[in-house]
């Protein structure tokens, strides 16, 4: 099998997975917040946050869902742009302006997640502990190795997008040689 055929075949599968991911993200977040009381205790994402309300009222759960859709919405956009990129690869289009644009958007979305996630965590901690007695309400700020890793990975993809742009220029030059 030629390399291009392998790329087009696997890209069709990746397109399907990215499409599923785009719709799975809000669905899973909604399911998580609807079953909050089952998983919240001991979850690493909520480590250090101690809400007193049990069960958690629906307005708080709704607010929690909307806040987690801040990075979640960006993740949906990232998956959507990746889907567009794999759609191009599935058509055998490798070095076009659309390819580098999709990859750039994906990279910037990934980096944005790293920035927005700590903000979402801070807002979540406030919303979940707002009903706590005075002195037990909290605002948690967290920026650690997971966020740095996401930022680094986004940076890598951004550089690859710039390299792809160079590849596009070379491919266009090559196309003008008969």
């Amino acid at each position: 099998m030629t390399n291009l055929r392998r790329v087009t075949r696997i890209s069709r599968l990746m397109w399907i997975l990215c499409t599923l991911a785009t719709f799975a993200i809000p669905t899973m977040l909604a399911a998580m917040w609807m079953t909050f009381d089952l998983w919240a205790a001991g979850h690493p994402e909520l480590a250090g946050i101690q809400p007193v309300q049990d069960p958690m009222p629906t307005p708080v759960l709704a607010a929690g869902f909307l806040i987690s859709m801040l990075p979640g919405g960006i993740a949906m956009f990232a998956a959507w742009r990746l889907r567009a990129l794999f759609s191009l690869y599935a058509e055998g289009r490798i070095f076009t302006a659309d390819n580098s644009r999709c990859l750039k958007h994906f990279a910037m979305a990934v980096m944005a997640i790293a920035v927005v996630k700590p903000v979402a965590t801070a807002l979540l901690s406030v919303v979940l502990t707002l009903a706590n007695p005075p002195g037990e309400r909290m605002m948690m700020l967290r920026f650690g190795s997971p966020e740095l890793t996401i930022l680094f990975i986004g940076g890598v993809f951004l550089i690859i997008a710039w390299v792809m742009e160079e590849g596009r220029t070379m491919a266009e030059d090559q196309a003008q040689i008969v």
Binding site: D173, Q176, I177, V178
Partner: protein, 71 residues
């Protein structure tokens, strides 16, 4: 650019249509048209070899250098 493509002159001499030459050489008619008008950035030796073979000519019959055309 000082390089001028004289392929159309050779086609007229051999009384061959661009469409036929393009089919024989294995390039699109559009690419041949761009080549004739000098809008292509380059030509592969394989393509040049094929054109010379089908038109029974030399590479120098297809391209010329005109110093006056220098920008």
């Amino acid at each position: 650019m000082a390089i001028v493509v004289t392929l159309d002159v050779m086609l007229a001499r051999r009384k061959m249509k661009s469409k036929d030459l393009a089919a024989k050489v294995g390039i699109t008619e559009q690419n041949l048209s761009l080549l004739k008008s000098g809008k292509e950035k380059g030509i592969r030796f394989a393509t040049l070899d094929a054109i010379c073979r089908y038109l029974d000519c030399q590479p120098g019959d297809l391209i010329a250098y005109h110093r006056d055309n220098q920008p």
